[in-house]
Symmetry: C2
Subunit: 515 residues, 2 copies
């Protein structure tokens, strides 16, 4: 790339300082600062990381909840050509330890409040050694001290914007998650798309009300950042706190799901908080009356289809034309989508096959998974592991994951992960996991368990076993016992038979928006 | 670039065929076709060009007016890694001959209607030999025969999207224009920006009512194409024909300037044509009543600042915040702008200096001008030759070209070009050109001429001399004679003194939108 064509996160940040230096960039608790300060802090953090030995291709792990420091961390990593990974803090100590040993970060920023126990347990379990820096210690703050001790800027270097800068773990289809690596170019070009679809502009005040370990929130964080808007960070999705923040900071946009809107509506029955500043799509009448409904989207439909591996949204519905058939619209410009069979041959319209993608926002690959990457990127197309259909009018419908997956709130639950955990219980011979429809959480997890001969374990014990080893949202809510888990003639769990027998359903796809 | 991250014009066209294959892509005279047909024709044109010896880096010249074939030509060139140049057909034979000899195209597509005389004259004057193919011959159409004789597709090849695909001549500051080379990536990323600023969507029906040898029109042509909208082509800006086309094809957007809107309003006094489908910014009450005023832009202001060398618009005003000072907004995301002094040092806010740019949409350079490119792209920034100011709030005001330039309608007139022509007249010793304010054309050209001792030539003869050798719009409308052209103490023409003496003014900058 010629230098006059350079675009990169550090270059964008320099321009933001020039063009909107005094505009509020960040609100996080009682802290607020502008783009000039955000750039200064990111540069200094880059210098601190460089001083701690972080360079091109190295990883920095965030074991904390939502924070302005996640944005700063990604910006700092961009300066160095390093990668920043915000881990899913809802995971158990064992699960976090897996991420630590898999990612092998040089630096781990960690948080004590609310998640200290799991983090400490992970620290003991992990074999990999790193420098640990607590980001919420007081009165002496380790993170700020780390910053303060560094020079104002790292040594100058050229970083190719095609190099990865963000890692988000996902896709635990085979029992363990993989870290999707997203490049600076992918984040920046995706932001142009998201700015258009979500109408993000410099006046946007985006409340980061979803978890920042998911691209569903992060894609808007970055779209808001690159256009020079204001990001309001909140540690986690606490409906009472969200109400207060929207009112106080006049947030114009937020990451919203039905369950959250229900809770916020209930808590604000007395109308104490004014949410008219918030532009929202339609959810239900009480909510709609409380906020401002975006005239462009008065239907409660999805934006489109996406996944972590392509940095969120990759098809959109907002500019569907009257009569369009596909539930998930068409791909964004600069992206290509095909529906293929197992031999990567194009399927005709109307037939269901795997969705494969190519374009500027596709991930660079999973961290440290050369074989899976070779398989998932075969023939030069990213294989999504998702099923879809091209309709006769060219629009696209996402059908669901190729492999069974369960949705609980905004979280994906991969049966192989929970089944593996259950099978590690001494009394369990075999186990299967299905999703049962739930009005609040989309689905809840049900386990079907085959015990070893003469072994004993009740539902409560098995649920507690899962709770102890995994993120709580993954644990079964109910357990059924059986003599034999049904399997297909090639030995795979027969989920269709289980769904029929135990009331499974409401799997991702259809009205949902991908994962 | 990894294959899964590929984006290119051929890949976008393949996706358009998949996702909007049956949607109307092109209207041109009585011809209409959809995206599947547009792709098929572009592939076949690429094969035909390949068969004629056009490959990576070769040039194809368009000596014709607006046509769907310009879009097809750019798409075909993209397949081959070649470059397509739509020349300014308003130029004289001499000027067109300069372009032919400068560009050295393998193929020249030419048009007889309206411009055949100048084209034939250019063909005789030019030294370079090329294959000439007439695109408006009848009943046997040479262009279509060229297509029909070719295979359905060119041989497969990988073309780097950073390679140039479009050449637009501009910037005749030193007397001769230069061809700005724009890459596939620049066209595609700029389209994302233009789609947002001009609200281009798949339902858009864009009337190419400005000349396609200017990026002012082309940037919207491509934004409409890449999102899957409909491009309506019209040979040239004929107000009666535009009225008919808007009404008949329900055009939603067009390239508009005040003069054109005045003419169309006059011609449609009886309301024969329904223009309510057309979304426009405010011009004047009679016009505004005839069309639909975009609620987002009810002020008659510019979109921002741009130039051919960055593929059109590079700053925008549409998301200015209340109180913003700069008349031309801020740069688009993925772009960087600095105001520098002659040593490329940043100037503080409030001081006027040269606008320098960097980013995804900046040109690859001028064709065949290594020395000028080295100078214009020194220190890794594109030097615009334009003056601007960063305001205290970070927004930007474009002041005007560093070198004197005159605006007539949408055309730039470079004094050096006209002065050179006048000096080639046997009676002229010295000459200078200024722009005089004009309510209809922004400015008109006035020549100040110093005759040789004892030589004789009246105003009419000198104007006729210019008309014979240059595009008609460049010729002086009036001539004043003087004993001595005033010059500064370093020998440059003293334009300030001339403007004062002869009523010059209204130069580009201020309320205008760059060039």
């Amino acid at each position: 790339m010629s230098l006059v064509n350079e675009f990169s996160i550090p270059a964008a940040l320099a321009e933001l300082e020039r063009s909107r230096g005094g505009h509020k960039a960040v609100v996080c608790g009682d802290i607020e600062y502008d783009y000039a300060a955000l750039r200064a802090r990111s540069l200094r953090l880059a210098a601190a990381l460089e001083g701690a030995g972080v360079g091109q291709g190295d990883r920095v792990l965030w074991l904390g909840q939502n924070s302005r420091r996640v944005l700063e961390g990604v910006c700092a990593a961009a300066h160095l050509g390093a990668m920043f990974c915000p881990a899913n803090w809802r995971q158990s100590g064992e699960e976090l330890a897996f991420v630590i040993d898999d990612l092998q970060p040089k630096i781990i920023f960690w948080q004590d409040e609310e998640i200290g126990e799991a983090v400490q347990s992970a620290r003991e379990l992990a074999a990999h050694e790193a420098r640990w820096i607590q980001h919420d210690s007081a009165p002496e703050n380790e993170f700020e001290a780390f910053l303060d001790a560094a020079p104002a800027a790292p040594s100058p270097r050229f970083v190719d914007p095609a190099s990865p800068v963000l890692i988000v773990y996902t896709a635990a289809f085979e029992g363990r998650p993989h870290g999707a690596m997203l490049s600076q170019a992918a984040l920046m070009i995706q932001s142009l798309v998201v700015q258009r679809v979500q109408e993000i502009e410099p006046g946007t005040v985006f409340l980061n009300s979803g978890p920042m370990f998911h691209v569903g929130t992060l894609m808007t964080t970055f779209a808001t950042f690159f256009i020079g808007g204001t990001n309001v960070f909140v540690r986690r999705t606490d409906p009472a706190e969200l109400l207060r923040l929207i009112d106080r900071h006049r947030c114009t946009f937020a990451f919203l799901v039905t369950k959250l809107c229900m809770e916020m509506t209930e808590l604000n029955k007395d109308g104490r908080y004014d949410l008219k500043c918030l532009r929202s799509q339609t959810f239900f009448p009480e909510w709609d009356a409380m906020v401002t409904i975006n005239p462009r989207d008065t239907r409660n439909t999805s934006y489109g289809y996406g996944q972590t591996e392509v940095n969120g949204l990759i098809t959109w519905t907002f500019d569907n034309q009257p009569g369009d058939v596909g539930a998930h619209g068409r791909v964004a410009p600069l992206t290509q989508l095909r529906i293929v069979d197992d031999a990567d041959k194009d399927l005709p319209a109307g037939e269901v096959g795997e969705i494969v993608l190519r374009g500027a926002t596709v991930m660079s690959g999973y961290w440290n998974r050369p074989e899976i990457n070779a398989r998932r990127q075969r023939n030069g197309w990213h294989h999504t592991n998702d099923l879809g259909r091209r309709e006769a009018d060219g629009s696209v419908t996402f059908i669901g994951p190729k492999t069974q997956m369960i949705k609980s709130g905004v979280e994906n639950i991969y049966p192989a992960e929970v089944e593996g955990c259950l099978r590690r219980h001494p009394a369990v011979a075999d186990a299967a996991i299905i999703g049962v429809p739930d009005p609040k959480f989309v689905q809840v997890v049900k386990a079907i368990v085959q015990l070893k001969p003469d072994a004993e374990a009740d539902a409560e014990a098995l649920i507690e076993h899962c709770r102890a080893h995994m993120a709580s949202y993954k644990k079964p809510r109910s357990v059924e016992f059986t003599d034999k888990i049904p399997r297909t003639n090639i030995g795979m769990i027969d989920y269709r038979a289980l769904d029929e027998a135990y009331g499974g359903g409401n799997y991702p796809g259809g009205a949902l928006r991908g994962h």
